[in-house]
């Protein structure tokens, strides 16, 4: 049983024939060919599969593709515009926020969501608590996010 499912993927319309219960994670990776979204646990614990669904952070391993119908999906690939990295990506490079890199796309998505809406959580630790990292001890990630948030607010003022 597959169904035609359409959503906006990184700003462009996307349509595919997929099983409605197929995890959005798998649809993104297998049907849309976007492998930047990673699977670490498949049960909503590690956050490696974090994407935006209508602007909200979600674990794409927990979203049946049928529930993305008509919505806007943004993945790590969607953060780059005209070849320019998002400030968050830049800062993860500069500050050493990525080590083995497997949690990085999900971590960056959660961090961008927080930077866009700092009221969504009481602090950065809470905002990133859904994203497990085994390499960094999180310290360099905080540095990266802080730097990016400084940069982002500066560019807004301009």
């Amino acid at each position: 049983m597959t169904a035609k499912i359409s959503f906006t993927l990184n700003g462009k319309p996307w349509t595919g024939n997929v099983h409605p219960l197929k995890r959005l994670l798998d649809t993104l990776r297998e049907d849309a060919g976007l492998t930047g979204t990673k699977e670490g646990c498949g049960e909503g614990e590690c956050g490696a599969c974090t994407v935006f669904l209508d602007g909200q952070v979600v674990m794409s391993c927990m979203v049946p593709t049928c529930q993305a119908e008509g919505k806007k999906v943004t993945t790590i690939e969607g953060l780059v515009s005209d070849g320019d990295l998002h400030p968050m990506q830049d800062c993860f490079i500069q500050e050493g926020g990525a080590q083995c890199g497997i949690c990085t796309p999900g971590m960056i998505m959660a961090a961008v969501a927080y930077a866009n809406d700092p009221d969504s959580a009481e602090d950065m630790r809470e905002a990133l608590a859904g994203n497990l990292c085994r390499c960094t001890g999180y310290t360099r990630i905080y540095e990266s996010v802080k730097k990016a948030m400084e940069k982002m607010s500066v560019s807004e003022i301009r």
């Binding site: 990673k38 670490g40 790590i76 690939e77 083995c100 497997i102 085994r134 001890g137």
Partner: protein, 758 residues
């Protein structure tokens, strides 16, 4: 002693002015791919006509296979199925000993042991088919604990179930214990298993035909996989090609283990006529079936003079090795060689053993046995301090090693060292003394939240143990590209620790060219020399030094043959010379081969001599709170001070320490492997608890620099060091918060604290 202590965490102000790359923080070589999602991990690769493989595993801990039935309900005729009898060569993993089969033939020795393999183009259908394979067994009695193993009642390995034993003797402790006016303290300690929990589970892909086998995968050691697969297919080295993919964490968990799934995927491909086969473990399978840190029980007995001088030390440690030897003998060796700590003592015996149980084999995990023996000794020092009425740091200061002292192995401390300085720096940064006092006062109030602070002092030997590096005989190389840049050729994988970057810095420094002119060849056994495994904190120190020497030779070559000036040159001149050389001579590669540093001798028979060429030294302080309403512990602050030789890349080095500390805090406080019939039960991230951002304290890292003469620009190994110190510091701080009630096993869970306060 060149001493440079950072003013602020990580960002040191040491004198690295003579360096252009070393000591700087260039962006990691592979970070752009990682932050954009473009980096290709194994599961991101697609293969035309790919089959998806799954492993049928035992559901009993010990017994004989009577029958395997493929039940109806799936179209078995479409499947590729492999059992032991399909193996073209030897059904045995070539590691230290040839004792572990790739697939069980008749006797099962642990739960989750591979029995058969199935593959199909439809991923979902393979999952369903896995539930349709029924294995009938004849069960046999199994053993699950160290005591059962040593009881002599169920011998399954050799004469006594003991894989390996070591003994270290210095002086003679026995008579010391009967001296008058001494304080004898005994204790038993336990450290539990730990799952490496790299966020990317194990995964491989393979294409195998009689013409050759190619494997792609998530791994630390491509040449280990090659070595493991040769006898399996009866093929020579050049017919087994192993290609590293970007690897999402290893921590030892992808050291020896990937040989198994690599062999499985290759066997399925072989049977399927060379179709590509992918095996990607899901998290549950990865946690259920793959290696963990060896659990270890340690008994420590000490004799102290009343003033706190350590007169005699006896350590007896037993590790559970699981059902096959795999790496247990070398894990045990490292545990043995770290059991005596950074203390001077005239009378020491260390006795250790690794024993057989019907558990999945325990394996490599950051620290490699050392954390298991450092925890007991350091916690024992705290208990001793408590008994002697001496402050823990004073007891340590009275007994630390100084230059010229000898370790239990007889190794004389020849290099400059300043353990006292490290300890004092950690105390200052953590406001240790002040907090001991204020916490003690606070704990007298009615507040249900109690405070504690504790420290640990320890070392970690870098590189392979003893003569290990000589046996490895590593080679590393550099290649001149037609564009006039330089490409690094090593087998050492980038698993998050930054090896591509630090190696590039070392080569850039040696060649006096910009970091940007260095690239790194992805480890592929068909392309790179065998520079040894990516383990044992050796990649920067040992392989980095090989690269530095290769770079010297490469520069000399260009000076001799391509007109590079001997009196300095700019990047463009180098590029022109290198490019001209490549044009004239074709591909040019320069290799360097391992040479042991002078004066390093080790005797494997007596376990005496220089166990390691270099040691990193550290003192860690943990400040925490214990809530007596919930018995939960919250680490509030963590200070890590260490001497690791020259720091090549402060941000990466700091990241290694921070990550290692967090992983060790997990081991100390959260990560409880619940075993049933020898195998992990809590195989999900909902019930195997990793610390999140909210559970991980600020980790403040400080480096002491003391360049090591045999490391590249003075670097020593540091990757494993941070795994060693946190657990004892935590346990000590918890005991402080509980008014001196020591919990001598980890993890220390709220349940354990609740229990002890009954």
């Amino acid at each position: 002693m060149s001493r440079a202590v950072s003013d602020t965490p990580i960002r040191r102000s040491s004198d690295t002015s003579q360096f252009k790359s070393v000591g700087k923080n260039p962006p990691r070589k592979e970070s752009r791919e990682k932050v954009t999602g473009k980096a290709k991990y194994i599961d991101d690769l697609t293969f035309e006509g790919c089959l998806y493989g799954k492993t049928v595993r035992s559901t009993i801990p010990r017994g004989k296979i009577k029958k395997i039935t493929f039940e109806p309900g799936v179209p078995w005729e479409e499947f590729t199925v492999v059992t032991a009898k399909d193996i073209p060569g030897k059904n045995v993993v070539a590691l230290i000993e040839m004792d572990q089969p790739f697939l069980v033939e008749t006797e099962i020795r642990h739960m989750a042991e591979p029995i058969a393999l199935i593959a199909h183009p439809d991923k979902g259908l393979v999952e369903k088919a896995l539930t349709k394979v029924r294995v009938e067994y004849e069960e046999l009695p199994a053993i699950f604990t160290i005591d059962e193993s040593l009881s002599g009642r169920n011998i399954q390995r050799g004469r006594d179930n003991v894989f390996k034993k070591y003994h270290i003797q210095k002086g003679d402790p026995a008579p010391v214990f009967s001296r008058p006016a001494i304080v004898v303290i005994e204790g038993e300690y336990w450290t539990g298993p730990q799952e490496q929990l790299y966020i990317e589970p194990n995964g491989v892909a393979a294409v195998a035909t009689p013409d050759g086998v190619t494997v792609w995968g998530s791994m630390q050691c491509p040449f280990y996989v090659q070595k493991g697969l040769k006898p399996l297919f009866n093929l020579p080295d050049d017919k087994i090609r192993v290609i590293y993919c970007v690897t999402g964490g290893g921590f030892g968990g992808k050291e020896e283990y990937p040989t198994l799934p690599a062999a499985h995927a290759a066997l399925l491909s072989w049977k399927a006529g060379g179709r590509p086969v992918k095996i990607i473990y899901d998290r549950m399978e990865d946690m259920w079936a793959t290696t963990k840190r060896h659990p270890c029980r340690t008994r420590v007995k000490t004799a102290f003079a009343k003033d706190g001088k350590l007169l005699a030390l006896q350590v007896d440690a037993t590790m559970d090795g699981g059902a096959y030897l795999t790496l247990s003998s070398v894990v045990l060796s490292r545990g043995t060689l770290h059991a005596f700590g950074p203390y001077a003592c005239d009378h020491v015996t260390i006795d250790t053993r690794a024993v057989f149980t019907n558990s999945p084999p325990y394996g490599a995990f950051r620290g490699f046995g050392a954390p298991q023996t450092i925890f007991p000794l350091e916690l024992h020092m705290d208990r001793a301090a408590d008994r002697l009425g001496i402050e823990p740091h004073e007891l340590r200061l009275k007994n630390i090693l100084h230059k010229g002292d000898t370790m239990a192995t007889g190794q004389k401390m020849e290099d400059e060292m300043d353990i006292e300085g490290i300890l004092k720096k950690a105390m200052t940064e953590s406001r240790y003394l002040e907090k001991r006092k204020s916490h003690r006062e606070h704990n007298r109030t009615a507040s249900p939240v109690k405070k504690g602070i504790g420290l640990s002092l320890f070392f970690h030997g870098a590189g392979f143990t003893g003569s290990g590096e000589v046996f490895l005989d590593s080679r590393a190389g550099l290649e001149i590209t037609p564009a006039g840049t330089v490409r690094i050729l090593t087998a050492n994988t980038e698993i998050g620790q930054g090896s591509f970057t630090t190696h590039s810095q070392i080569v850039a420094e040696a060649l006096r060219i910009p970091y940007e002119m260095i690239e790194v060849a992805p480890p592929d056994t068909a392309v790179v020399p065998n520079s040894g495994p990516t383990v044992a904190s050796r990649t920067c120190m040992i392989v980095g030094e090989l690269l530095r020497r290769a770079a010297d030779d490469l520069r000399d070559l260009l000076i001799r043959s391509s007109g590079l000036s001997n009196n300095g040159y700019g990047p463009d001149e180098f590029r022109r010379a290198a490019s001209a050389h490549a044009e004239k001579n074709g591909v040019t590669r320069v290799y360097a081969k391992y040479k042991p540093p002078a004066g390093i001798h080790w005797d494997d028979q007596t376990y005496t001599g220089s166990a390691y060429g270099a040691y990193a030294w550290a003192c860690y302080v943990c400040d925490l709170e214990t809530d007596l309403t919930t018995y939960q512990v919250e680490v509030k602050d963590f200070v890590a001070v260490q001497e690791v030789g020259r720091v090549i890349h402060p941000v990466i080095a700091g990241g290694q320490i921070e990550g290692g500390v967090a992983q060790a805090l997990g081991w100390a406080l959260y990560e409880n492997v619940v075993l049933k019939q020898g195998v992990m039960q809590n195989t999900q991230l909902t019930n195997y608890i990793l610390p999140t951002t909210a559970d991980t304290p600020p980790i403040r890292v400080f480096f002491y620099e003391n360049p090591y003469p045999n490391g590249p620009y003075g670097a020593k190994g540091l990757g494993e060091l941070p795994m060693d110190g946190p657990a004892p510091a935590v346990a000590s701080a918890v005991a402080f918060s509980l008014g001196g009630k020591f919990i001598s096993s980890i993890p220390i869970l709220p349940e354990n604290i609740c229990e002890i306060l009954k």
